[in-house]
C-alpha cells in the first residue's frame, strides 16, 4: 500500500530535499509552499496523508497554528495524524510550544534526512 505525506515549507531547498528523500522512500507527496496552502491541502478529503511535515515559520499561516487547527479537528484530515515539525527554531521554548500544540516529533535544521525517515517510519509503523 502506498504511503502519502503532506509537506508544507516555504523554503525551496527543504522542499527539494524532502521531495527527493520521501519519493525515494515510496511516498506520494503533496507539497505546499506556505501554511495556508498546507491548510487547504489538509482540508481536501481526497488527500488522506499518513504523515504531515510542517515548517514553523511560514507565510500566511504558521506551522504551529496549522498544527493546532489539525488537532482541534477543524480540517478533513484525521486530527490524530502524525505531524513532524521541521524548523530552524531550536530553543527550548519553541520545542515546548510545538509539543504543547500537539507535535508528534520535532526536528531542527540543519537536519538529517535519514533521521527524519526513521522517525517517520516509527510514527506510521511502516
Amino acid at each position: 500500500m502506498t504511503k502519502s505525506a503532506v509537506i508544507a515549507d516555504d523554503d525551496e531547498t527543504i522542499r527539494s530535499i524532502l521531495q527527493y528523500k520521501l519519493s525515494k522512500a515510496g511516498f506520494d507527496l503533496t507539497v505546499c509552499h506556505d501554511g495556508e496552502a498546507g491548510r487547504e491541502a489538509l482540508n481536501d478529503p481526497n488527500i488522506d496523508p499518513d504523515i504531515v511535515i510542517l515548517d514553523v515559520m511560514m507565510p500566511r499561516l504558521k506551522g504551529t497554528q496549522l498544527l493546532r487547527i489539525i488537532r482541534r479537528g477543524e480540517l478533513a484530515v484525521a486530527s490524530d495524524v502524525p505531524v513532524i515539525m521541521l524548523t530552524s527554531r531550536g530553543r527550548e521554548a519553541d520545542v515546548l510550544e510545538a509539543f504543547e500544540s500537539g507535535a508528534s516529533e520535532y526536528l531542527t535544521k540543519p537536519f538529517s534526512p535519514n533521521e527524519l525517515l526513521v522517525r517517520i517510519e516509527k510514527l506510521i509503523g511502516a
Binding site: 527527493y20 500544540s101 538529517s112
Partner: protein, 398 residues
C-alpha cells in the same frame, strides 16, 4: 569688509551653439538608454540561463546525493564550465546549511572536489578581512577544521572573526572545541560580541564549560562591562554541572558597579540552586540593599528558579517591602509557581479574592496593596496561558 553684489547680465548665445549642445545631449541620452537597455537585456538573458542551469545542476546534485551509492563528485565537477562550477558552489552553500548527518558529510566531499577547503585555507593565510570571514564560513559549512595555529595567527582581529574561527571548531566537532574555542574567543584582549558571538561562546562551552569558567575566574575583572554581562548570560544558560568550578567571579559580580552586570550575575546562578556551598557564599541581604529595581527583579527570578523553602521565605519577605512596580511583578512571577492555592497570598494572613484586589487596583482613589495587584495580574496571566495551551480542553468544548 563689505560684499559687492554684481547685477545679473543677459548673455546672447548663438543659435548654432545651442543646436550643437542639444544634439550632443540627445546623443548622450540615446547612448545611455541604449547601453542601459542592452545591459539589462544581457543581464536578464544571463539570469534566465543561470536559472535554467541551476535547476539542471540542482537536479543532478540531488540525484547523485540520493540516487546513487557513491556520488562521484570528482568526475562530475571536472566536466563543468566556469558558470556551472559557480552555480554548484552556490547550491552547495545552500544545501550544507540545511543538511546534517551522512548527507552533509557526502555533500562536504563535493566541497573538497571543488577545491573550496584548500582555497579557504589560502584565504585565511593570505586574504584580507572579508576573505578570511568568507573562508571561515566555508570551513564551518564543510565541517573542516584547519590547523589551530592558522586560526590563532590570522583570526583574532575582531570579535566577529574570533567567533567565526571558533564556530569552525564547533561545526567540525573537534575534541578541543572548548579549550581552543575559548582561547580564540576570550584570549588576549577580547571585546564584546554580536549575538552570533554570544551564541558561539555558548555552543563551544555547552558540553564542557570548565575552560570558560577558568578563563572568567582569571580575567573577568579585566573585561569591559558589556563582555562581562555576555559571559554571565552564557553562564546562566550552561546547565552542564561542574561541581568543582570556581564561581567566586560570579559572586564578586553581584557587587559590580554596573547594574546590568549585577543583574546578569544574579541570573547566572539560576542553574546552581542545588549547590549549597555556592549558595552559602551568596549574601541574600544584598537584594534588600540593592538600589536598582532591575537587579532586584533578576534576583527574585533566580530565587524563584531555586524554588526551595529558603528562597521562598526570602521572596515572601520581599513581597511586603518591594517598592517598585515592575520588580513587584517579577517577584509575583517568581513566587507564584511556589505558592499553594490553599494558602493565603504572600503578605496576607487570610485569602483575598481576586476581584477585590483587581477592583482596588483599577480604582486610583482607593489605597491598594500594590503587591496584591501584581499577584493577581500574574495569576490571571498564568491561567490564560494555561488555557491557551490546553488543546484537549478546547477540543472537548467545541
Amino acid at each position: 569688509m563689505g560684499v559687492r553684489v554684481l547685477p545679473l547680465q543677459a548673455v546672447a548665445i548663438p543659435s548654432t551653439v545651442l543646436t550643437v549642445a542639444v544634439l550632443v545631449l540627445a546623443s548622450l541620452l540615446t547612448a545611455v538608454v541604449l547601453v542601459t537597455v542592452g545591459y539589462s537585456l544581457q543581464t536578464a538573458r544571463r539570469r534566465r540561463r543561470r536559472t535554467s542551469i541551476r535547476a539542471e545542476l540542482r537536479s543532478e546534485l540531488l540525484g547523485r546525493l540520493y540516487g546513487r551509492d557513491k556520488p562521484e563528485w570528482d568526475g562530475w565537477v571536472s566536466n563543468l564550465s566556469t558558470i556551472e562550477l559557480d552555480e554548484v558552489e552556490s547550491l552547495l552553500d545552500v544545501y550544507l546549511r540545511q543538511l546534517d548527518g551522512r548527507d552533509a558529510e557526502q555533500l562536504a566531499d563535493l566541497g573538497v572536489a571543488l577545491g573550496i577547503n584548500e582555497r579557504a585555507r589560502r584565504e585565511i593565510a593570505n586574504g584580507d578581512y572579508w576573505e578570511r570571514i568568507h573562508a571561515l564560513v566555508w570551513l564551518a559549512l564543510l565541517r573542516d577544521a584547519p590547523d589551530r595555529s592558522l586560526l590563532k595567527t590570522h583570526c583574532l582581529d575582531t570579535p566577529r572573526e574570533r567567533a567565526a574561527a571558533a564556530r569552525v571548531l564547533y561545526a567540525a566537532d573537534t575534541p578541543d572545541v572548548a579549550t581552543t574555542g575559548i582561547d580564540l574567543l576570550l584570549g588576549g584582549e577580547p571585546r564584546s560580541f554580536s549575538v552570533f558571538g554570544i551564541d558561539t561562546l555558548y555552543r563551544v562551552s555547552e558540553t564542557d564549560p570548565e575552560p570558560l569558567f577558568e578563563r572568567a575566574a582569571a580575567d573577568f575583572n579585566t573585561w569591559g562591562s558589556a563582555l562581562q554581562q555576555q559571559v554571565l548570560l552564557v553562564t546562566q544558560h550552561l546547565n552542564t554541572v561542574v561541581g568543582s568550578a570556581d564561581f567566586s567571579w560570579v559572586v564578586d559580580a553581584l557587587s559590580n558597579p554596573e547594574p546590568r552586570v549585577r543583574s546578569a550575575a544574579w541570573r547566572a546562578f539560576d542553574a546552581y540552586g542545588w549547590n549549597r556551598q555556592l549558595r552559602a557564599d551568596i549574601d541574600l541581604d544584598l537584594i534588600g540593599d540593592e538600589p536598582a529595581p532591575t537587579v532586584r527583579a533578576s534576583a527574585y527570578q533566580t530565587l524563584g528558579t531555586w524554588g526551595d523553602s529558603e528562597a521562598s521565605t526570602t521572596l515572601e519577605a520581599a513581597a511586603t517591602t518591594e517598592p517598585d512596580d515592575r520588580a513587584r511583578v517579577a517577584l509575583a512571577g517568581a513566587l507564584f509557581p511556589l505558592w499553594d492555592p490553599e494558602d493565603a497570598i504572600p503578605g496576607h494572613q487570610e485569602r483575598v479574592e481576586p476581584s477585590t484586589a483587581i477592583a482596588a487596583a483599577d480604582d486610583t482613589h482607593v489605597p491598594v496593596d500594590s503587591f496584591d495587584a501584581a499577584w493577581w495580574w500574574t495569576s490571571e496571566h498564568v491561567q490564560f496561558d494555561r488555557l491557551a495551551r490546553d488543546i484537549g480542553v478546547r477540543a472537548t468544548r467545541r
